[in-house]
């Protein structure tokens, strides 16, 4: 029985596990983590950053001597996935930022992952060399043994024989994800396109001046390889079936919640724009994230979501300021736990939130260096909305909007989560009794 799997959220105490990245105050833009993804077994954890690098962490084997120390994640491989490009024709720089990483299911010793920036999807094979250096620093070039006390520098060999896979030059603002390997969707803001560059969906109007809606996210169904969903900037989700037609202009299902007139404001449309869409592991539900809420939809019910969770409703009265400083355009992601019973998403001030779908309870936790003592239990945080602020609560005006948690990942079968806070990656896990 895997520890923690399927537990009710209130029974779970989240503890600090590890943090990766520097504690320096000045953050290099290139080090900002832009995507986090566990592989299908949870043994590997990949991050991509704005500098176009991919770092893969591998979980260490658990040791019987220290059962309370769950396997730690340590660096397995680092490589430069994408470089900045310059499109001379349009005088445009193409960012090297990694927008998404997706793992392919593993079938042999090598692992494969897809990484994408704004323009290019790449397939990578990560495998280990057969040869392992022995006595690497203790022998010189001629093979003679060195005196250890004379060694002043250490050399490290290339840890893994990773090589770039063949670049597929079909680009996307969102990376591809497909259980079916060969077919991965390229998505940009107009259209989705398959590997052979067929447009699956194209919502670009003939006259660009009529453009009022863009595609914001897309994902293939985890089991039905012909089905995918895509979300829009108007808060709608469409489910499409590629068997129906070559161009999926007509959706099979259309999900939209009627607007609540009491909440109407100038910013209603902006905050309804969906920043992430994720199928549940079961494939029966989809979860969407817009600026203030997370919603769970039943695939069989198109006219409204099954569940709506308020992530940070206290921001509703601050929308103009958040529009002014562009925070209102922040694209938060959302994730399911392995059993689809708990959902998680990020917020500001390095807070992240979890919602238990069964008990309807929620918790706010913080990823910070102050809580980074080994196995320290994370204390739930609370934002004070008005009136008297209790001790340990934080008022809305004190929130740090530059510290945003946009990217998180949940281990496929255990209560281990990876939370990206700017340039730091936090790994939390539940307390082992």
């Amino acid at each position: 029985l895997l520890a923690g799997f399927g537990n009710l959220m209130q029974d779970v105490l989240w503890c600090f596990g590890q943090v990766k990245g520097t504690a320096d105050i000045g953050v290099t833009e290139a080090d900002i983590i832009s995507t986090v993804e566990f592989n299908h077994t949870g043994e590997l954890l990949a991050t991509g950053d704005k500098g176009g690098r991919v770092v893969i962490f591998q979980r260490e084997q658990e040791s019987k001597q220290q059962p309370q120390r769950r396997g730690e994640y340590n660096v397995y491989s680092t490589f430069q996935s994408h470089e900045p490009e310059f499109d001379y024709l349009k005088s445009l720089e193409i960012e090297e930022k990694i927008n998404k990483i997706r793992w392919l299911p593993q079938h042999n010793a090598a692992c494969f992952l897809l990484s994408t920036n704004d323009k290019t999807v790449k397939l990578w094979k990560v495998s280990e060399r057969d040869k392992r250096p022995e006595g690497y620093n203790l022998k010189d070039e001629d093979g003679r043994l060195r005196d250890p006390s004379m060694i002043t520098t250490l050399r490290v060999s290339a840890a893994c024989g990773q090589r770039p896979g063949r670049s597929r030059c079909s680009c996307g603002t969102h990376g591809p994800r497909s259980e079916q390997g060969r077919r991965w969707a390229r998505l940009d803001q107009f259209l989705c396109r398959c590997r052979r560059s067929i447009y699956i969906v194209d919502i670009k109007p003939a006259n660009m001046e009529e453009l009022t809606e863009v595609i914001t996210a897309a994902e293939f169904h985890p089991h039905q390889c012909n089905a995918f969903v895509y979300s829009s900037s108007k808060g709608t989700i469409r489910l499409c079936d590629m068997r129906a037609a070559a161009l999926c202009d007509r959706h099979a299902k259309f999900f939209e919640e009627p607007e609540d007139p009491s909440n109407r404001s100038f910013f209603s449309e902006i905050i309804s724009s969906i920043s992430d869409v994720k199928f549940s592991h079961s494939g029966r539900y989809i979860m969407t994230r817009d600026y203030l809420t997370v919603k769970v939809w039943d695939l069989n019910m198109e006219n409204r979501p099954m569940e709506t969770y308020q992530v940070h409703d206290y921001l509703r009265s601050k929308l103009c300021s958040l529009y002014e400083n562009d925070c209102i355009f922040d694209k938060f992601e959302c994730v399911w736990n392995g059993s689809d019973s708990v959902i998680m998403t990020g917020s500001y001030n390095n807070f992240f939130r979890m919602f238990d779908r069964n008990t309807k309870r929620d918790v706010t936790l913080e990823a910070s260096r102050e809580n980074s003592k080994p196995r320290a239990v994370l204390k739930p945080r609370k934002v004070c909305v008005g009136g008297k602020r209790r001790k340990d609560e934080i008022s809305v005006d004190s929130l740090d909007f530059s510290k945003k948690i946009l990217h998180t990942a949940w281990h496929p079968s255990e209560n281990i989560i990876a939370v990206a806070a700017t340039n730091n990656l936090y790994i939390f896990q539940d307390k082992v009794n």
Binding site: F79, R129, G161, R163
Partner: protein
């Protein structure tokens, strides 16, 4: 690019706007038309800023354009006719002419006239909130949105770039569909439902087991990684301040990256030579 005077005035403007946004959020006393005008101004300023960016963000531009349209529509319905240019700028704001030259024609009359207007009722020049509002015409807004979206069309045009990062071979690999244009694709699609016939559509979750992804990598030569001395000697990584961290970012990238950098430089140099030859006419 921007003159210092203009920069200072713009940052003053930005400060005003920041103050206004908080006023918008916290005050219940701001009249609705004023709030609406504030939002409209913010939208237009943003659209204008995006226009100056090398690569404007389509998603944001569309959302902001929609907000502008929504406000426009509301104002139109209230007034029953297109809104005319009205006043609101103090005479001593020559800095705003800088905005005119950047493509969005905001009509900014100097001086305060007593012209009847359908928008907010601005009175005294002493009121700082009202004085920092820009009021524009309906037509100007539409043309501003149109010009921005048209520019985005050019930016978003899909033409696959040639790969700059070399693969295992020496030659750069070209994408399978070089040169396909949007219109061509549409033509292909119209009569080409059968194109999906070439996809192996299957409900089987074991689809991937049949797939030999490894084959793609067969031609890549990894023999250089078999040598123990392939890497030049590295400096020991900088010791991180906290023992629990790992200096992952100080870990220099592998040979593949430096090799590709060199390759890119070489390409650039030879291109430069070629261009020089043409220019010199040799």
């Amino acid at each position: 690019m921007l003159g210092r005077g203009l920069k200072r005035k713009l940052s003053d403007y930005e400060e005003n706007v920041a103050g206004l946004s908080s006023a918008f959020d916290s005050s219940r006393n701001l009249p609705y038309p004023l709030k609406r005008q504030l939002v409209l101004n913010m939208c237009l300023t943003k659209l204008q800023t995006y226009k100056m960016l090398v690569e404007p963000n389509l998603h944001r531009s569309v959302l902001i354009a929609n907000t502008v349209r929504q406000i426009q529509e509301e104002m139109r319905q209230e007034s029953g006719q297109p809104i005319n240019v009205c006043t609101g700028i103090t005479p001593s704001s020559p800095s705003y002419t800088g905005l005119e030259s950047s493509g969005i024609s905001l009509q900014l009359p100097s001086g305060i006239s007593q012209q009847e207007s359908n928008c907010c009722d601005l009175r005294s020049a002493e009121d700082p909130i009202e004085n920092s509002l820009l009021i524009v015409s309906d037509d100007d807004m539409s043309s501003a949105i149109s010009s921005i979206l048209k520019d985005l069309d050019f930016v978003e045009d899909i033409s696959p770039p040639t790969c700059l990062v070399p693969t295992g071979d020496d030659q750069p690999k070209f994408p399978e569909n070089t040169g396909l244009k949007l219109e061509d694709d549409r033509q292909d699609l119209k009569g080409a439902e059968c194109v999906f016939g070439s996809f192996e559509i299957s409900n089987s979750t074991s689809y991937l087991k049949d797939l030999a992804i490894d084959d793609i990598f067969e031609d890549i030569d990894t023999s250089m990684y078999d040598s123990d001395f392939c890497c030049p000697p590295l400096m020991p990584p900088r010791v991180p301040p906290v023992a629990a961290e790992e200096p992952l970012k100080t870990f220099p990238s592998c040979n593949s990256s430096s090799a590709s950098n060199i390759q890119i430089c070489r390409t650039d140099l030879s291109e430069l030579d070629h261009i020089m030859e043409i220019l010199v006419g040799s």
